[in-house]
């Protein structure tokens, strides 16, 4: 009897766990297998992938999201953050970087919103150079201080440059900027769902 009771207990416990997994992981994942990559969604280049790793390494995820909410749910469109994101947009993302905090703005379409490489480089060096009141940390270790900029390198235009030296982004910095400049998902997808769950056709 004790064995039977224990057996029922553990079976019940495992069943409850398995049911939950099937419901919210197994089934959605199976359904998502039907999703085809949009023609305009490009795979990441080597440098962009490297930059994506820098993004993960520095924990950008903890302040920035990469998902745009549906029309009418929040003010994401009014902030020019792009059209609502769909599962197809994330097919090449591993690990996903959807994010759960917006201490900083959503970055899903940051390349479309802010295509200036110079801006990103300055912003990463010290965000408060381009955005007063920003809480974002500075990332000076993505940069090197040199006597002169090398071939193809552009020195940062700093208001207060270090004496006799120039600051240029190093490999990590260049890669991260390359990744950020790849974040453009403004291409149309065939279906975009609004907050009231009726499908709209994206023009």
């Amino acid at each position: 009897m004790m064995f039977m009771r224990s057996f029922v207990f553990f079976l019940g416990v495992l069943a409850a766990f398995a049911l939950g997994w099937i419901g919210i992981v197994g089934m959605p994942d199976l359904m998502l297998a039907t999703v085809k990559p949009p023609a305009d969604l490009k795979r990441y280049t080597g440098e962009q992938l490297y930059g994506r790793n820098v993004y993960i390494r520095e924990g950008c995820l903890y302040c920035h999201s990469q998902q745009v909410r549906a029309v009418g749910f929040g003010a994401d469109q009014a902030r020019f953050w792009g059209r609502p994101s769909v599962p197809a947009d994330y097919l090449y993302d591993k690990p996903h970087l959807l994010g759960t905090m917006r201490t900083g703005p959503d970055l899903f379409n940051i390349a479309a919103r802010q295509p200036s490489e110079g801006w990103h480089v300055l912003h990463l060096y010290n965000p408060r150079l381009v955005m007063k009141g920003s809480l974002m940390p500075p990332y000076p270790w993505l940069f090197d201080e040199k006597v002169t900029a090398g071939p193809g390198e552009k020195a940062l235009l700093l208001p207060d440059p270090p004496r006799g030296r120039v600051v240029v982004p190093n490999a990590d910095g260049r890669a991260l900027v390359a990744y950020l400049l790849s974040l453009d998902h403004t291409y149309p997808v065939s279906q975009v769902v609004a907050a009231d769950d009726t499908a709209h056709t994206q023009k």
Binding site: F17, W21, I24, P28, Y62, G74, D93, T100, R128
Partner: protein
């Protein structure tokens, strides 16, 4: 069975002196077998509490003063914040919780701990895994997903540590000398069955894209479901009736509470992705499951409240009860809040804001951590054979923690709500949503500092007991003189 009470034995007169002495001797033996592993788990847990709290304070001040220590890569917010999360959850709560479980297993099974060697190995491995994982994340090697930042080597070590721990506990349970398995043990047994499976699946890297996001948040919430919450509930279900001296109000409610908990809570995960690029039906299912949690939470709340009814004056002199009741009430509060927070209307405002962080800390700190504090205040004298030497230090600990978490929760809840409203208002520039959180983030930093001071006081007091320092006491460390309370 010695110690097993039937209705006939409700009054001490029904128990012979011989039985009582025998029972006490057995209990001392059982406690002795649990002593070393429990102290090892508790001590390392408290060490990680101090480390994790300090990391949290650093992370918090970096949002107030972004350029503070800004040139030092390992301390950048994006690295310190995940290490704070991982060390307080997989470190403090998991290790202290494991220590509590070891002691409870001995008491509730009325038998000595089996395979203690596995427990020592588990503690060593667990601490190693935590150290390795923390150092790796701080140096820049992160798994990239929230709650799963520890790189694979550290995760494997922690998984192994957990399996060894569970093996010893299951073996002890199999050797139990009681006919009846108490409700705390249901939660403990379930958690030890669930967590290894959960942890292995999550770290196996099976998915990508939004499917992986679903897995990520199934894991993130389930870690709370299958490991952290059961630790808190197991503690509350034991210590509230034990300290008060009355049995749990309704065992049936406990049964209902456990199974509805198991059934519904496992489906909650996707409420972390409301509004996100996932099938709407899946998100709705999670929201419904979150609301269904009212059932088990009410069952637990009624049970604990009715057990304590009329006897809450004991919190005036029992540190354990004070902490545990605070924790149990917080469980009700955080769960009610969570159920409502999961709805789309609330999520539209609070998702992506500091409101979520406040809710998370209400659960992990006001609920689980406070119960663990209470448990440790009860357990340690019984295994170290030394009473807490300075009751005023316990008072300081309690009040700093309580005020700290209330202020933490209050400031970030208000700040987060306002942040969300501003973010949803089209004309408000984004930087203004950041600016308005400023004072609330400062309040959070100060609250976090208070809590960290409390933890340092607690750690110091804990060390005093381990080293048998301070005045030797023959009576419990009560807050008020015994006669004052008895006269009430």
């Amino acid at each position: 069975m010695s110690g097993f009470r039937t209705e006939k034995q409700l009054s001490p007169e029904g128990v012979t002196t011989a039985e009582r002495v025998n029972d006490e001797r057995r209990r001392i033996g059982i406690d002795a077998s649990a002593t070393s592993p429990t102290v090892l788990f508790l001590a390392s847990g408290i060490a990680w509490l101090v480390v994790g709290s300090l990391l949290g304070v650093i992370a918090s001040f970096k949002l107030d003063l972004p350029d503070w220590l800004g040139t030092y890569a390992p301390l950048t917010f994006g690295r310190v914040r995940p290490v704070h999360l991982n060390t307080v959850t997989y470190g403090w709560i998991s290790l202290a919780g494991s220590g509590m479980i070891v002691w409870l297993m001995g008491r509730l099974c009325r038998t000595e701990i089996r395979w203690p060697g596995l427990l020592y190995a588990s503690a060593v491995l667990w601490n190693t895994g935590l150290l390795l994982g923390s150092v790796l994340v701080v140096l820049g090697y992160s798994g990239g997903m929230e709650w799963l930042e520890f790189p694979l080597p550290a995760a494997v070590i922690i998984a192994l540590a957990f399996v060894l721990f569970a093996a010893s506990m299951f073996r002890t349970f199999a050797a139990r000398q009681v006919e009846h398995v108490y409700v705390s043990l249901w939660y403990i047994l379930a958690s030890m069955t669930w967590f290894p499976i959960l942890y292995v699946i999550a770290n196996a890297g099976l998915y990508q894209g939004v499917g992986e996001a679903a897995m990520n948040w199934w894991y993130g919430h389930n870690a709370i479901t299958v490991w952290f919450t059961p630790i808190g509930l197991a503690g509350a279900y034991y210590f509230i009736p034990k300290v008060i001296g009355r049995p749990i109000y309704s065992y049936y409610l406990g049964l209902l509470g456990f199974w509805s908990f198991a059934l519904f809570y496992n489906w909650n995960g996707l409420h972390h992705l409301v509004g996100g690029p996932l099938p709407t039906w899946a998100i709705s299912v999670s929201i419904v499951a979150s609301l269904m949690m009212f059932v088990p939470v009410l069952a637990v709340a009624v049970n604990h409240h009715m057990t304590a009814l009329g006897h809450l004056n004991i919190v005036a002199y029992s540190p354990t009860l004070r902490f545990v009741v605070f924790g149990a009430m917080s469980y009700t509060a955080v769960s009610f809040q969570g159920s409502l927070e999961a709805t789309r209307s609330v999520q539209e405002v609070t998702h992506f804001t500091h409101y979520t962080i406040a809710h998370a800390h209400l659960g992990m700190y006001a609920f689980v951590t406070m119960i663990l504090f209470g448990a440790i205040y009860y357990i340690l004298p019984r295994i170290a054979k030394w009473e807490w030497p300075y009751p005023h230090l316990i008072k300081i600990h309690f009040w700093l923690s309580a005020i700290g978490i209330v202020a933490y929760f209050g400031s970030l809840t208000v700040g987060g709500w306002l942040q969300g409203l501003a973010m949803n208002t089209a004309g408000v520039p984004f930087i203004e949503t950041v600016a308005l959180t400023g004072p609330y983030l400062w309040a959070r930093s100060i609250s976090g500092t208070l809590m960290t001071v409390a933890h340092c006081v607690f750690a110091y007091h804990f060390a005093l007991v381990i080293y048998r320092a301070g005045p030797k006491r023959f009576a419990p460390a009560w807050f008020r003189k015994a006669e004052e309370v008895v006269a009430e």
